[in-house]
Amino acid sequence: MYRMASIIKTESLVKDFDGLRAVDNLNLEVEERTIFGFLGPNGAGKTTTINILCTLLRPTSGRAFINGYDCVKDAHRVRSSIGIVFQDTTLDKDLTAYENLLFHAYLYGLKREESKKRIEELLQFMDLYDRKDEPVKRFSGGMKRRLEVARGLMHYPKVLFLDEPTLGLDPQSRAGLWEHIVRLPESHNVTVFMTTHYMDEAEVCNRMAIIDHGRIIAEGTPEELKRMVGGDVVYLRAKDNKMAKEILKERIIADIEERNGEIFVHGVKGDVCIPEIIRILGEQVLSVRLQRPTLNDVFLKLTGRQIREGSPEDEFKESIRSYRRRFDRT
């Protein structure tokens, strides 16, 4: 057993598929009871990494640990420590919500009385209790995902993996699911490890890593990562823009430009800078707005590409995806 503070840890993890490197020298550490976001475009190696961590794939080299257990040598203990919501639903559509959870309880060896209580508690937590005796095939996409999250939590896992949990959901279901996910570390004492390529979802994570072509290209809190692109932009309109600009240039150390009737103040901490501007200009100010950098800006800066746009790399990604599909069946 490998003792440490991190609940998830990888050491130089590598996974090759027929000469294609899907995961490239990955080093990760995730603290207990946090939400960790794994962000990257399709085919970046996110699902492959999850599959290694949840013992469905063997790494080509390197090691991975969950809850102190080696994902290869101690696969059985790792499996007891984790819950997983895969990208594609893995519910039995012919069984009811309740039966799906009961099946899971038996599979993980829960005691009968306990599993009954746990099922009811989780169905209520996920707002599915009213529909518990309906076959899953009648559930909407959002309900199925919530049921899968409930199922993943049944056996008190230490880590809950969510692979693109909101993929294919409408905005309302997405919001509904998120509301539940962000509460999990507190309510169910679990570490959430999730992949996504939605920027706004990544922003609620405690920490995150950006992955591209199987390599981690940046890691930190969402705030830290956004600071990498050089801070916020404050947009300002004053009674006399020209004069205001000159005054600000003397008093604030920042890039200041004027364009289209607006003054841009680049690369500042917006929450500190706005009060400062107002103090300096006083009644001169007509309007102020703040633009914070998004994680998309971060990705753009690091790779020169938009995270969700098609790019020359798409072919590469698609080939990795198809390999992955073939090997995922393990």
Binding site: L56, H76, R79, T90, L91, D92, L107, Y108, G109, R329
Partner: protein, 252 residues
Amino acid sequence: MIELKVVYVIVMRELIKFFREKSKLVSTMARPLIWLFFVGMGMSRLVPQDITGTDYMRFLFPGIIGMTILFSAIFSSISIIWDKEFGFLKEILVAPVSRFSIVLGKALSGTLLSSLQAMLIMIVSPLIGIYPEMGQIAGSVLVIIVLSFCISALGIIIASFYESLESFSMIMNFIVMPMFFLSGAMYPLKKLPLVLKYAATLNPLTYGIDGLRHILIPHGMLDFPFYLDIFVLLSTSAVFLFLSTYVFERGK
């Protein structure tokens, strides 16, 4: 290592799903009855009684029980392919349970479902002039169970080589149908050309059907001694069970 809870819950799931789908039960029961009465009655006009005095309908009956088992056991086991396609298999594979328990659960659910259907077919035996006594019924049930287990385990091995639902017709045409025709179900092995006869001796179903004939029409035309039938069924069952755990573990 066998986890009884796991075996139990896998069997329960198959049973629930089977009985919830009433049309499935009706259609799997219809096939053997259609063969028995439509094919059997037609053929019995062509085929005279054999030297032992057994008419074709009675000769065919154990074969039809074997057919019932073949189809329902294989279909039950290849539901693994459905589980792969619809993702449910992943739910089972990431659980902390031994692969042997999973395979055993699948094999036992196939055994249970196909034995049940075979016993239902047994009920029509008086209609074709077979009146089994208690001992014969008990003996048949035992052979039915062993044969069902054997074919179910074989089904798991087959299922582990296929990935998607399109493979269904492949399995049907190149495995199930040849197994049925080369099992002595419809014609005695003695009358087959040599090559086909040898092929049939490699088919576990042959021994199951022969075993049932020993019990139901003891003075009819038989191919092997009864003890050999039982020995082959039991040993292939064991081999298939371990082989299926192996291929399942290998992850294919």
